[in-house]
């Protein structure tokens, strides 16, 4: 008997252990499966010499053989005989390096994260579904698939990805699938569309309409016009003021009388939002040493591993293009060919508005618009949750768009208004794939403008240069035709006068070609001066980066690619240059204060000495950043924070705040209403100075080299799923938000490119990561050091499949 008990017990324990080790428990991976050297993560460790120099792969689905040559950075150079094979190979090769990343991002965009991760991400999923991400992606996809050219591109690309997925056995799954214990699924063309919508969300998916409306309700139109002007005091727009119009503008729709009444008082000026931004600039042949234009671009995005971008060269009849792509989207997004180069930065046009909805009754089946009740469309979303039954969520749609939250609940993003319908350009169909397809094949300005005409969302500043010596920039995308300030606040959803009533004709989008100043540039600032006939937005990115770029480009002569590279790494902060002298003067104006004693005196001396450069070793930036931001907080917190007022309000922007500090020391906003004492500007300056010095002292000890900027800022590149050990922490770099070298804590230049046009195009580039998405590959993060020190790699641009190049060592053939 005892033997039987022993046997059963041992069997049960052994079986249970094996089962547990094969099953994911909450966030814990199935350890047996994960650690097994036969199928677990050990299999993902790439042997350092494992990359074959010669290889023949059979890929059913190809129409003809494709040559792929890999350079020493492991960038694939694809030589195909037709478009189908070109994009098939692009899909296959991208998936080979980045499958988990592209799949994961589309799960996020589609609201399918809980399916992989579990109930903790259910709210994220609900939010993205309620934002209409799949709704918008499906509309775009329909348009892309209706065009035979882009249908072929998207289908071939997806087929290529699927060819890779179907070649995988479980032990070859990318690392993250093993850790999270799931399997790759078939790639559908919809995923490419979702990916572009996710970019649209990242770049244009937030809105301050609710916070602005709250500010209007609380303080009235006079204060709002004063603190949130329509144009900034300090600005250097992308299209220079005075650029003559080459079109006759359409009339804007009339401003509804109800809005005029609500805003009746005087006239306007503007403000910013740093962090996510980008720079691009191009100098004309007159300014370059070679006599041909040079173009540079560095899009600033969240710094992640695997890298956001993937380098590739795509060659087939009619196209030979090099650049970066977003894994999961076909074609090259930023790049160059033998004749042209182009780049993008984000346009902060207002393309997302909110409409207050009046429901007929609590059933929420009809809403009031244009004098009658209109039906609401109900869409049921089925959300899969790992380890739990599916959840159903009903999203209501009006003719404007989805009602993101239709009942009282805590929104995923606090700026999302409840019981409001959203109108967003990302929900409108446009064939962005065609725009990039044509740009990849462009050889002159006409080709470029023809490509741009297809582009919708997210709106981008498309900079361009060609070897016929044209330089140009178009803030481009679909821009709604608006009356002035339409969408600055929440809109009335019952009155059709508040609806979007058409589009700015694409040829009338802001643009400038070969300006007299000899360069074009953008850094997310205002697209135009107030002389542009249409309303795009009242607020854009802060002006400092753009102005600094223009300042340096204006002085530049005989420029080389290195001149532009150095400019990309410029660390001067114009905000500090403008504000620090004033802040020091206010600090010094107080005869007896703690700031003049002992250690504080050292800090003050340092600030007097500092020349506003955000170098990694400088101490000034550590102090200034804390000092300035704390000063701003002390000015506005009592009047605009949720803590101080109980409601969500937008804070006045940097431009307006600076004007207040520089010119309005007696403003009523300076006093902290919450204290009986009356604070003055010098008081706030002193208190915030003390705060900055105290913070640094607590963190790093006495004033000294440890206070250096790189320590205080601590730039981190995190793994996309934030896995500890899989990112690169505490990079020793300078720069920061609002600086041309916009390397801040988590954001920064995600790709730096410089292209010199001419008889032979020459290009340079780097991104903070590597071509491989496999954390077990030496090519996962091999380019970070070069990026960190501000250098660029010369890019290998091959003219044909057999061209000799000593940096190209591997040649693969993909056969049908």
């Amino acid at each position: 008997m005892i033997k039987w008990i022993k046997a059963v017990l041992a069997l049960a324990i052994s079986g249970a252990l094996t089962w547990v080790l094969n099953t994911k428990q909450g966030d814990v991976p199935p350890f047996g499966k994960f650690l097994s050297p036969f199928e677990g993560f050990w299999q993902n460790g790439e042997a350092t010499d494992a990359f074959p120099a010669q290889q023949n792969l059979t890929l059913p689905g190809l129409q003809a053989p494709v040559q792929v040559r890999f350079d020493d950075r492991r960038v694939p150079h694809v030589f195909a005989q037709n478009d189908h094979d070109l994009y098939f190979a692009q899909g296959y090769l991208t998936a080979r390096d980045r499958l988990w990343q592209m799949d994961f991002v589309t799960h996020v965009a589609a609201g399918r994260l809980a399916e992989i991760v579990g109930p903790s991400r259910l709210e994220t999923d609900r939010f993205f579904r309620r934002m209409g991400m799949v709704y918008g992606a499906q509309k775009s996809l329909d348009m892309v698939m209706a065009n035979p050219v882009t249908h072929n591109v998207l289908q071939s690309y997806s087929d290529g990805i699927n060819a890779y997925i179907s070649s995988l056995s479980a032990k070859e799954y990318p690392f993250e699938y093993k850790l999270l214990n799931y399997a790759p699924e078939r790639w559908e063309p919809l995923k490419c569309a979702l990916l572009l919508k996710y970019m649209a969300f990242d770049l244009s998916g937030r809105s301050d309409d609710l916070r602005m409306s709250n500010a209007l309700n609380k303080y009235g139109p006079a204060v709002v016009k004063d603190l949130f002007p329509d144009y900034p005091q300090r600005e250097d727009p992308i299209v220079p003021v005075g650029t003559p119009l080459d079109f006759k503008p359409l009339p804007a729709p009339p401003t509804p009388p109800s809005f005029q009444a609500a805003m009746s008082e005087k006239v306007p000026a503007r403000e910013p939002d740093p962090e996510l931004g980008s720079n691009n600039f191009a100098v004309s042949g007159e300014k370059s040493a070679s006599g041909f234009p040079i173009l540079a671009n560095d899009p600033h995005l969240q710094l992640n591993l695997p890298s956001i971008w993937y380098q590739i060269q795509l060659t087939a009849p009619g196209v030979n293009v090099y650049g970066v792509t977003i894994p999961g989207a076909p074609t090259v997004i930023i790049g160059f060919n033998q004749q042209v180069a182009w780049g993008v930065t984000n346009v902060a046009a207002d393309v997302m508005d909110w409409y207050q909805i009046k429901f007929r009754d609590h059933t929420r089946r009809e809403y009031w618009h244009d004098g009658r009740w209109k039906p609401i469309r109900r869409v049921v979303e089925r959300i899969k949750v790992r380890g739990q039954p599916d959840r159903l969520d009903t999203v209501l749609y009006t003719h404007h768009g989805p009602i993101v939250y239709d009942r009282d609940e805590k929104p995923f993003l606090s700026e999302t208004p409840i019981r409001h319908a959203m109108r967003w350009t990302a929900h409108d169909a446009a064939n962005e794939v065609l725009a990039f397809y044509l740009l990849n094949r462009a050889s002159n300005y006409q080709d470029y403008t023809a490509a741009l005409a297809n582009y919708g969302s997210p709106a981008q500043n498309f900079i361009f240069a060609d070897n016929q010596k044209d330089i140009t920039i178009w803030p481009n995308g679909k821009f709604p035709l608006k009356w002035r300030d339409q969408g600055k606040f929440i809109l009335d959803g019952t009155d059709p006068a508040y609806d979007w009533q058409g589009w700015i004709p694409q040829v009338q989008n802001p643009h400038v070609k070969n300006p007299a100043r000899g360069f074009v540039s953008s850094a997310n600032q205002s697209s135009t001066g107030p002389d542009y006939p249409y309303y795009l937005n009242w607020t854009f990115g802060s002006y400092e980066r753009g102005h600094r770029i223009n300042e340096r480009l204006a002085r530049m002569t005989r420029a080389t690619p290195d001149s532009l590279r150095v400019l990309q790494n410029d660390n001067l902060n114009l905000n500090a240059q403008l504000m620090l002298p004033r802040m020091l003067a206010l600090l010094d104006s107080q005869p007896q204060n703690v700031a003049k004693r002992g250690a504080r005196q050292q800090v003050r001396t340092e600030m007097h000495r500092w020349k506003y450069f955000y170098e990694a070793n400088a101490i000034g930036p550590s102090i200034f950043e804390l000092w300035y931001s704390n000063l701003v907080r002390r000015i506005w917190e009592d009047d605009f924070s949720k803590k101080g007022t109980g409601i969500e309000l937008r804070w006045p922007g940097r431009d307006r705040t600076n004007t207040l500090i520089l010119q309005e020391p007696d403003s009523k906003w300076i006093d902290d209403r919450r204290t009986p004492a009356k604070e003055t500007l010098p008081d706030l300056v002193r208190l915030s100075f003390e705060f900055a010095a105290d913070s640094l002292q607590r963190k790093f000890g006495e004033f000294g080299p440890k206070w250096r900027w790189a320590n205080q800022k601590s730039t981190d590149i995190l793994h996309l799923a934030q896995l500890p050990g899989f990112g690169r922490m505490d990079l020793d770099v300078g720069g920061g938000a609002g600086i041309v070298n916009a390397t801040s804590e988590r954001n920064g230049p995600s790709w730096r490119m410089v292209v010199a046009l001419g008889p032979q195009v020459q290009a340079y580039g780097v991104y903070p990561g590597g071509q491989s998405g496999n954390p077990g590959s030496p090519f996962y993060d091999n380019m970070i050091e070069t990026w960190r020190v501000g250098q660029l790699y010369p890019l290998v641009f091959l003219h044909n499949a057999t061209e000799q190049n000593k940096r190209v060592q591997a040649t693969w053939t993909l056969n049908k």
Partner: protein
């Protein structure tokens, strides 16, 4: 090691390794169980044979892959787990985990055999 466990150890080592090349990792538990059902004589020895048979293979393969990869991935995973970034500690943990699965399965196999056929088995003279 008692000479009597050599056959069991070798069968688990070889058959287990072959099975894992073609089948899911847990097939090694089935192999260890079946082998001990066939050859197991003494519970403690069976456990040891299973532990070492599987543990050795897991150690050897993990160590080989780790060297090939120059410890790149194991260093990351050992920060995640967390083992302070020590990749070789992760190799040892891997071997012990595989060993436990093999050992317990072999123990179960041996004890089931003893329950089913309680007569003492002819043992090789040690």
């Amino acid at each position: 090691m008692n000479r009597g466990i050599w056959p069991l150890f070798l069968v688990i080592l070889v058959a287990g390794a072959v099975a894992q090349v073609f089948l899911p990792w847990w097939s090694v538990a089935v192999v260890a169980f079946a082998a001990a059902l066939w050859l197991g004589t003494h519970g403690g020895w069976a456990f040891l044979a299973g532990f070492e048979g599987v543990g050795f293979v897991w150690f050897a393969l993990a160590a080989w892959l780790n060297v090939q990869n120059q410890g790149l991935l194991s260093h990351r995973v050992a920060q995640l787990l967390p083992l302070g970034g020590n990749g070789w500690a992760l190799v040892v943990v891997t071997a012990i985990l595989g060993g436990l699965v093999g050992g317990l399965a072999a123990l179960a196999g041996c004890w089931v055999r003893q329950a089913v056929s309680p007569k003492p088995v002819a043992q090789p003279v040690s």
